[in-house]
Subunit: 66 residues, 2 copies
DNA sequence: AAATAATGTCAAGTATGCTTTACATTGTTC
DNA sequence: GAACAATGTAAAGCATACTTGACATTATTT
């Protein structure tokens, strides 16, 4: 699954750390998501989507990977 | 987070086991989600949403619980 | 009522998401 | 170019998602 987190974050001109604070997760979690190290939990996905004012599907793109 | 999985599954007249097979997860996973034992991973949430032809937000309802 | 299907539930194990700590690299500002 | 800010990355630990196997309960069919 890929995501547009870095793109959206940069568009809003916020740092990884500031975003992490707003979402109440660690800076490393944001970095890990942006670099594709792992996927967010559904709860974190909801928080992220809400922060950017969009649907989960607009940020996280699931393409039937195995 | 609550969800409408049982409701949607019953509406389509499918058993937990049949749904589990279609989604390639165990029967216990479906039961656990329906009973609120735990939340799905975002990948499973996508699969479920796609199976029912709706958005994740239509099945899984996140209400800012702490 | 007996047989079968569907669901509930529990335990133990593996995988993944997230944390903290720590240090290195890259980018920006003075 | 020195100082500071932002990001990358890795290890170890904890929590949660999901598995298989097993058995009990409830619902449905015959």
């Amino acid at each position: 699954m890929r995501n547009r987190l870095e793109e959206l974050r940069k568009k809003t001109g916020i740092t990884q750390e500031a975003l992490a604070d707003r979402l109440e997760v660690s800076r490393q979690t944001i970095g890990s998501l942006e670099s594709g190290r792992y996927n967010p939990s559904i709860v974190l996905a909801f928080k992220i989507a809400r922060f950017f004012g969009v649907n989960i599907e607009d940020i996280f793109i699931y393409e039937e990977e195995n």
